[in-house]
Symmetry: C2
Subunit: 164 residues, 2 copies
């Protein structure tokens, strides 16, 4: 029997999720970027209209990693897809198939729910992650720039219509 | 009074949406990429669990463009965001503030719903669009590669766990 066990995150897992999210931010060299609180994740993930889903991976009974995702949509395919926002395995527990199990689980979910694809982003310096994803069949989608308007001040500026 | 009128798309707008989506694909040099059907958009946009929202822009009473978006989520901010999947204005109707009005509407929606940001992608050759977005305060988020697993065959391959 595999010592890896996956389970869908529930309300009581919010402290575990927050710990894993902070560990991921630390790994991505942005330890101060996490301002999300326990209340935020509880409200947005486990209320009447969940904004995300999460799966927790346990190794021999200990929380070892997680995936967190939501639905996106392709108007060309006419099908929803899965956007993987976070995938993380504790650094000291890598190399045991946990990340692969989480991605397999995600692909199974995509197939079961009629999703046409799974999308995510990877930091351009993370060569081992890129190689790992490509070994599983993922491909880099090139030819696009990612654009963002962030923060209330910038959003308020964009919200103004010059002609009105 | 502005001749531009925005309204949230409803069930009866699916034919209009499909026309606009096909026009967008044609503009993005992928005229055969749209396999979405009327039934797909009706089911996914206007059923009990909508996978997307859309706004239609009318100019002097004629459909002139649209935005189509869904929610994403930032685990670092602990807030949902808006992902703009499609933004399009009929080429012959550009330069009259329609795109800007659609983006202003989107920013207003983001503020009203407590979203921390708006994200989207732009084709790297579309210099006029990039300049337009930057003039509204958008910034390119760099340092990430976009990864994708697409299609049932690739998803089935990823769904296999080697250790099980």
């Amino acid at each position: 029997m595999s010592p890896i066990r996956l389970r869908r995150a529930e309300r009581g897992d919010v402290p575990t999720l927050l710990t894993l999210i902070r560990a991921l931010a630390n790994y991505e060299r942005a330890p101060d970027a996490v301002i999300a609180t326990h209340a935020d994740l509880l409200r947005d993930g486990f209320g009447p209209e969940p904004r995300f889903r999460a799966t927790i991976a346990e190794l021999n009974g200990t929380s070892a990693g997680f995936s967190l995702w939501f639905y996106n949509y392709s108007t060309w395919l006419g099908r929803p897809g899965i956007y993987l926002e976070d995938l993380f395995v504790m650094p000291e527990l890598r190399g045991q198939g946990i990340g692969r199990a989480l991605l397999a689980d995600l692909a199974q979910t995509a197939l079961a729910e009629g999703c046409g694809r799974v999308d995510w982003q990877v930091l351009d310096w993370n060569e081992s992650a890129i190689a790992f994803y490509e070994s599983l069949g993922a491909r880099r989608t090139q030819g696009w720039f990612n654009m963002r308007v962030q923060g209330d001040e910038s959003l308020r500026r964009m919200a103004q219509r010059s002609e009105s």
